[in-house]
Amino acid sequence: MKQFDFFAGKELSRRHLLSGTAAIGSLLAAATLSGCGGNASAAAPRDIQFWHLLSGGDGIKMQALISKANEGNPGFKVHPTVLAWGPPYYTKLAMASAGGRPPQLAIMHASRVPGYAPGGLIDPWDLDLLSENGVTADSFAPRIWDKSQQNGKVFSIALDSHPFIMFYNTDVARKAGVLAGNGQLQEVKSPQEFITMAKEMQKVTQAHGLSFGYLGSGSQMWRLFYTLYKQHGADMELTPGQPMKVDRDAAIESLEFMASLFDDTIAAKSGDISTGIAEFARGGSGMLFSGVWELPTMKKAGLPVDAATIPTLYGTAAAYADSHSFVLPRQLNVDDAKRRDVYKFVSDILKGSLSWAEAGHIPAYQPVVQSQAYKDLKPQAHYANAADVIAYDPQSWFSGSGSDWQTYFAENVQNVLLGRDKATDGWAAFEKRTNTLLSRPNPV
């Protein structure tokens, strides 16, 4: 409440006033109820406010999970509030936490936690309370568990990992002769092999071999770029006060390869996300680079679809990914009973995340991933290995899903992908922009 310190002196009295009013209200209510001879207040479930950014198919799945958890726990009732993905969500969450009126529970991308934890906008999870509810470090794949921590404390509990993957049309692939004996796509190990395969598919579709909509979307460009960059075995570090540490050659090679794809044969030169998805869904191409969350759309389109991680073209298997994670926005006064309910609720959702997997995501909770039921989910099981090679955004207060940093990436490399700028120039401009951010005061 530092940030709104024109309230500072009055915060207590205002709060007292409000709690006083609430107390009078509850006294009155109790009097009325006792007048009726009932004891309803004791039985009333505690209200838990829960914010998330899951819409569309994800939103429906999440609502079903919440309803199930509510039914199984008469002691509390979780009320979800759905906000728009990206800056609107993160801005509101930060402001609600800073203003001291956040929900008891929220979903964040794991990559955004470094922008929230150091400033005290979210609280760490209590490992003892978690294990009481059957959730421990062993419940998560090592990469995901590592990502949940900041300065040795667990700040986020991952529900899933959702990597950037490759969907392919099995009909097109079969006709193009690029299927292996097991019915899955042949393995390709170099950019050239990939291009050859895409061209074979193009001969079948007569339109494009690959669909990838990216125009106007920093997230899309970044997801593919970072996948390719990490496949070089390269790292990227963002330390405030220092220039960004990066393997420039790997970055430029990745950008040049991406640009070479958009030649209107392998892939459309100018496509945004929706045109890319629409093209693949109507059979206009053999492959689609997209997030796992697009699976329900493809199934609904009735497409003969399978999926795999993006082929390893530069020697090291890697896939850009993020995780939807539960966080505890900092409360001015923690209500212990509600906190306990939150732990129970989160563990219930994790244990029920098989249905979350149906939306395409890879559950973070290992007992679900190892269950036979999950292994039977196709094509989810075909890309479940991605959880072992996922790469989160380089850590900093300004990076992560839906961040301005990804927008800055688009600003500097879109013209490279459109063939108007050289990859070296586009990359240099992005690096300069990043270094400017790193040189500025760190606000968290």
């Binding site: 402001m95 005290g120 106007g216 945004d272 600003e411 606000p443």
Partner: protein, 313 residues
Amino acid sequence: MSSSLTARRSPGSRVSSPAARGSRDSVTRNNLSGWGFAAPFLAFFLVFLVWPIVYGIYMSLTGKSLTGANDSLIGFANYAEAFVDADMWRSLGNTLYFTVISTVPLVLVALVMAALLNVGLPAQWLWRLSYFAPYLLASTVVSLFFTWMYNPQLGLINDALSKIGIPKIAWLNDPNVAMWAIVIATLWWTVGFNFLLYLAAMQNIPAQHYEAASLDGAGAWRQLFSITLPQLVPTTVMIVLLQVLASLKIFDQVYQMTAGGPGGSTRPVVQYIFETGFTGYRLGYSAAISYIFFGLIVLVSAIQFVITRRRSA
């Protein structure tokens, strides 16, 4: 009020000093009741305008962050940083560019539309409705319409252009075109307001002027240039003023159609303020930029004020 009237009517009020005092009392009382009537407005004015302005200036002198970290006074460091911030200048430049290229068509097209209607087309209500109706839509709706129509692959506009042999244009993805695409959308959306102002002004020009002119043998063009346009000067000055201020505040449609892209070519300064403050957490710095922008608006308004005063003098 009644007591003040009584005081004024009291005999001898013209000469005696007690009566003069009485009228001074009544002035005071008048003032008091005046303040009383103005108080609700003043309270809102102070709480929601004056106080935020003062607090904003204070904030711009601190390193205040949305997360609550570091809110100490840092003097003019934010302003110093802003003056060498290339992105701030670029976004300010984008705002000015948009203001210039949008104000001209928004005024001229409104004038032409009003003039066409004023000559007495049939079904006046239909024209008025169709010119003004877009103004009633929300910016999100307008942005959605135009985003679809501008879609390079599936959009209505490129489809129409291809039928007359014009190659596809990447409306919102070409840095040279995107700002114009937003101007076109804004023109369609908001020109109706200026059109209404012009139409009202035209219909207020006395018919006798035109009668006299036609008796003297003036044709339609002569009447337009010698009667209509000169009579519209005060309205035009007002419309240009309102339009410049509205265009300087551009944000909604850009944010929704291009999010400032491609390559930052459409990012207006209001969006930059939003980004630095709310998604970049740096409230203090963001406040400093908004005061620089505020200074610019005051400057533009002052220039316009001087020009209009000279004209009316």
